[in-house]
């Protein structure tokens, strides 16, 4: 068989698979249906839509639920037999996530970090609160939302952190104090709850890539629930001191779980000591 024919077969197979895969992961409704049609039987699959979303007494979408950061509605880390489409929160081919455009000084600062410094900056290593917006961008554990017409409580498994977002229309004060989750004001755009926040503690990182932020950062969260089993969260970060232009995440899927919510107090962290020794070795090697 000629190399050209092999190449043709490979391309054909790739395109066919790409089509199937794109359908599986693009949109949870069609995705769930396509997942059922796949020949590979995974033990953990893409969650079906689950019917229309519930509504609050005032008619708005009710965002309440136990939400997992994947498309499976259950834990996927450390488990076998998981459909790759069920593992992720978005398909980078269907909804690619843009790269942040940093101011030159900010890019230089991030590039100057050593591998150990980068590691030590991560909330998952140093046990500092994720804060907003990282809690929606770099959180592998679940979040429980309790939503009423006047308030949305977000209970994060990670580090047992929590946040209250008032949805009664109260404005953000002129000079909000620096909180890890900022101070928020909300409004509805149709069935989308828009949360605008400012006033952030500068010790947090937007992403575990060294992406720090300034005191000028403003964050917009857009929450939708297109069906009972799916919560979509999209984040915009506007930080003119650090970014050359605002950055918007992909619409990230969270799926409704019915399993347990676990405690996570960070009380036995060896990593600061262990990485601290490595940092000493890095310094010695310079």
């Amino acid at each position: 068989m000629s190399a050209r024919m092999y190449s043709g077969i490979f391309c054909g197979a790739a395109v066919a698979l790409m089509c199937v895969h794109a359908v599986v992961v693009h949109g949870q409704g069609r995705g769930a249906q396509a997942a059922q049609n796949r020949t590979t039987e995974y033990a953990i699959k893409v969650m079906p839509p689950g019917g229309p979303p519930p509504r609050l007494p005032d008619g708005h979408i009710d965002l309440s639920g136990h939400w997992l950061p994947n498309s499976a509605g259950q834990g996927v880390s450390g488990r076998d037999g998981v459909d790759p489409a069920a593992r992720r929160q978005f398909d980078p081919r269907a909804t690619p996530e843009e790269k942040p455009a940093f101011q030159p000084w900010a890019e230089a600062k991030i590039k100057a970090m050593t591998p150990v410094e980068l590691e030590l900056s991560k909330s998952s290593v140093n046990c500092m609160p994720r804060g907003l917006p990282a809690i929606w961008l770099q959180n592998p554990y679940s979040t429980v939302i309790v939503h009423t017409p006047t308030m949305m409580a977000q209970l994060y498994e990670v580090l047992n952190n929590w946040r209250l977002v008032y949805t009664d229309g109260r404005p953000v004060p002129k000079d909000p104090e620096p909180w890890f989750h900022g101070t928020s004001t909300t409004h509805w755009e149709g069935d989308t709850l828009v949360v605008n926040s400012s006033g952030f503690d500068e010790r947090t990182y937007v992403m575990p890539t060294g992406w720090f932020h300034s005191d000028a950062m403003k964050v917009t969260e857009r929450y939708t629930r297109p069906s009972k089993n799916y919560l979509i969260v999209q984040i915009t970060v506007d930080d003119p001191k650090v970014l050359a232009k605002p950055w918007t995440s992909a619409p990230r899927r969270w799926t409704l779980g019915n399993g347990e919510v676990y405690e996570f107090y960070c009380t036995n962290n060896h990593e600061l000591d262990e990485l601290g020794k490595l940092k000493d070795q890095e310094s010695y090697g310079k």
């Binding site: 068989m1 092999y6 077969i9 490979f10 054909g12 197979a13 790739a14 066919a16 698979l17 790409m18 895969h21 259950q74 834990g75 880390s77 450390g78 488990r79 076998d80 790759p84 593992r87 992720r88 980078p92 591998p115 150990v116 980068l118 590691e119 991560k122 998952s124 290593v125 046990c127 770099q138 592998p140 554990y141 679940s142 498994e157 992403m207 575990p208 890539t209 399993g259 347990e260 676990y262 405690e263 996570f264 107090y265 960070c266 009380t267 036995n268 962290n269 060896h270 990593e271 262990e274 990485l275 020794k277 490595l278 070795q281």
Partner: protein, 135 residues
Amino acid sequence: MKIARTFTLAVAAAAVVLMTTPSFAHHSFAAEFDASKCRDFTGTLTKVEWTNPHGFFYVDVKDTDGTVHNWSFQTYALITLRRAGTSLQLFKDNIGKEVWVRGCEAKNGRQHYAAAGSLKFAADGVLRQMGQLQD
């Protein structure tokens, strides 16, 4: 027949390329543990610490010269272990019994300390993921 086989291989190869998901740049075991120093350990489970952000379990491992060292193995956070079906009770039930561990040693030179990638209790032989596998 040959074409069918080739097509199957092509689908498999394409699947590997297409299904590769963007890495969740969360917590890098590679920063702290040495991917070039991963190996198998067999020994006796002596203790478990059911704590966060990581659990730890301890295993008496006999060196080639017959010396026994108590190794400490770091695991995923407990939430991940629990959602994957690994409980504290499983560890308790296997204290004093044989276990097999695939783990990677610490980069900073700390002796007898490693990240566990996977674990088998001899009692049930089930391979359980304990952390990011590095090899």
